[in-house]
């Protein structure tokens, strides 16, 4: 029985990282209607900058966090301004956004290989391991879960209670009407890209600390975030968070049952069945498309 409990613990650890990714993606999707898969690269930039500043340069980790947030937000905003907003001006279709986001994803992955080279990066941090009978959880993992929960709560508070959140929800509902009512939708999109990228950098830092960094991770993270979004119902942040934990759980079950090699592809089996059988997602509040 303990192995099932351990699977659940591991699923919560992985899920809380994916939840950050998926909620960032949803946040951006809500205002811009773009599946911003290049988000995966924004995450990686955060993680690699943190690693570079702290481990390779030996500077303070606080500075590392600061610079990593700065870097990720800059990359995210640049993608929005240079590509997506330009496409929006030219009335691009959904598929054009998809192709360009994939282009950005590949472009970013290769830039990371070029700048930070391909070698596996580790932080090599050992924290206390807590044992309960046969269950293991490290202090690092507890911190990871707590930080991610706090951020997610903060995010829903922003969406619910601030003026920006209200404007954001209006834009998400119908951006034309929102802009007629005097909301600067372009500014709203910019802000949502900024906040989404901020979440991404923190997700990147946590991923780096808990797992190792390799440049291909961005692609996987983006697609897992997307799967989580579809599972929860595209457009709902709570749904995306729920979906993220489900992805984490299925992944851990796959690792336990089939072996680690299948970890990344099980997500797509999940995606496939959800798209086919329940395209509106588990909560199904919003209509598909």
């Amino acid at each position: 029985m303990w192995i099932i409990a351990q699977i659940f613990i591991n699923a919560i650890i992985a899920g809380s990282v994916y939840a950050l990714v998926a909620s960032g993606l949803t946040f951006i999707y809500a205002t811009s209607r773009i599946f911003h898969l290049a988000h995966g690269v924004v995450i990686l930039f955060g993680a690699y900058i943190f690693h570079f500043v702290w481990i390779e340069q030996g500077l303070s980790p606080i500075l590392g966090v600061f610079l990593s947030i700065l870097g990720s937000v800059a990359v995210g905003l640049l993608m929005n301004e240079l590509i997506y907003e330009e496409q929006r001006k030219r009335h691009a279709k959904r598929l054009a956004y998809l192709i360009s986001t994939i282009a950005l994803l590949m472009l970013g992955t290769s830039s990371i290989i070029l700048i930070f080279n391909t070698s596996l990066k580790t932080f090599g941090i050992q924290t206390t391991v807590y044992r309960f009978d046969q269950l293991n959880i490290t202090l690092m993992q507890i911190i990871l879960i707590v930080i991610s929960c706090l951020l997610l709560i903060l995010l829903s508070a922003i969406v619910k209670y601030t003026k920006f959140g209200k404007a954001m929800r209006a834009t998400a509902d119908n951006d034309e009407v929102a802009s007629i009512m005097g909301i600067n939708t372009r500014q709203i999109r910019r802000l949502s890209f900024g906040i989404g990228s901020l979440l991404a950098s923190i997700a990147g830092i946590l991923i780096g600390l808990e797992f190792n960094l390799d440049p291909n991770m961005g692609v996987y993270l983006a697609l897992k975030g997307f799967t989580a979004m579809v599972i929860g119902g595209v457009g709902s942040i709570n749904g995306a968070i729920f979906g993220a934990f489900l992805v984490g759980l299925f992944e851990q079950i796959a690792v336990w049952y089939f072996g680690a090699g299948w970890k990344n592809s099980i997500t797509f089996v999940l995606l496939f069945f959800f798209l086919l059988l329940r395209p509106q997602g588990i909560f199904g509040l919003k209509r598909f498309r």
């Binding site: 959904r94 192709i99 590949m106 070029l114 697609l223 592809s265 797509f268 798209l275 498309r289």
Partner: protein
């Protein structure tokens, strides 16, 4: 001619087949199939396994690989009845990841990350020159068949499906069958391309059918232009010209791979932004 040029020309021919067949699905029918490279890999692995492990003759291997990829292509078209546009595209990207996982993990057949070595070129085409002629003929045949298909009434049905599925359906066209036929053809040709690739390079591993060929194919099909076979060939030539010109910069070898992807993607982004139809394409990304 020097061997380097022969090598590049063979690759151009193989990629021309890949990109033309991708264009049939993506440009003509409107099914953005990122899993195309997965099918390419299945073709390569099928033939490699059949010829090295079971000593099948090349002709039977290439036919079975083509047919297998055609069947899988047909199966891939089934979800497109319910799952549209960008969701379908991402689903097929998932298919690519699943095939990648199979190549890595089904070690009994594929030898995992070690890859399959010692794939022989077919009898009579062992020399690079004659193999180039073989691939060139294959590319030419692909071009003529696809040209015939896309110029036929059936081709117009496909384009109608791309432009507006509902209209095509209300005109009494069987859109599910048309999509399936298009994906079957597309799968067959990319399977053949996979076989040619495996027997040309004579070594395949899971990394050969991963994101790098997808990047090349995607860049070529969009740059050349959707719904234009000549555009696809032009796209492949441009992509290879860009990529090979990097050799003259004398960069360190570890930088060439990523630099290449960065260049492709910048060109791709510029094309999407300023000329979404591609150079001689007839359809927008829609």
């Amino acid at each position: 001619m020097f061997p380097f040029l022969i090598y590049i020309l063979t690759l151009v021919c193989i990629y021309a087949i890949i990109v033309m067949s991708l264009n049939l699905a993506m440009g003509y029918t409107g099914l953005v199939n990122f899993g195309h490279i997965g099918l390419f890999g299945i073709g390569a692995y099928t033939s490699a396994i059949l010829t090295t492990k079971f000593d099948w003759p090349f002709v039977f291997a290439i036919l079975s690989a083509g047919i297998l990829c055609a069947i899988i292509g047909a199966l891939l078209s089934i979800p497109s009845r319910k799952i549209k546009d960008d969701y379908f595209a991402l689903l097929t990207l998932g298919f690519l990841f699943v095939t990648g996982a199979i190549f890595i993990n089904w070690t009994d057949m594929t030898r995992g990350t070690l890859g399959i070595r010692g794939i022989l070129r077919p009898e009579g085409f062992t020399e690079p020159n004659s193999f180039l002629i073989l691939t060139f003929i294959a590319a030419l045949v692909t071009f003529f068949i696809l040209e015939k298909v896309t110029k036929s009434p059936f081709g117009r049905v496909l384009e109608a499906i791309r432009d507006d599925e509902l209209v095509a359906e209300s005109l009494g066209k069987n859109i599910d069958r048309a999509k399936m036929t298009a994906m079957t053809l597309s799968g067959f040709f990319v399977g053949i391309a996979g076989v040619l690739m495996a027997h040309f390079i004579r070594f395949i591993n899971p990394a050969s059918f991963w994101l790098d060929p997808l990047v090349v194919a995607l860049a070529a099909v969009v740059i050349g232009g959707l719904a234009s076979l000549r555009g696809s060939i032009l796209g492949v030539v441009i992509v290879f010209a860009v990529s090979e010109s990097l050799r003259f910069l004398s960069l360190p070898s570890t930088m060439i791979g990523p630099m290449r992807v960065i260049l492709f993607m910048i060109v791709l982004l510029v094309v999407i932004l300023f000329r979404p139809k591609g150079i001689i394409g007839r359809a927008d990304l829609d």
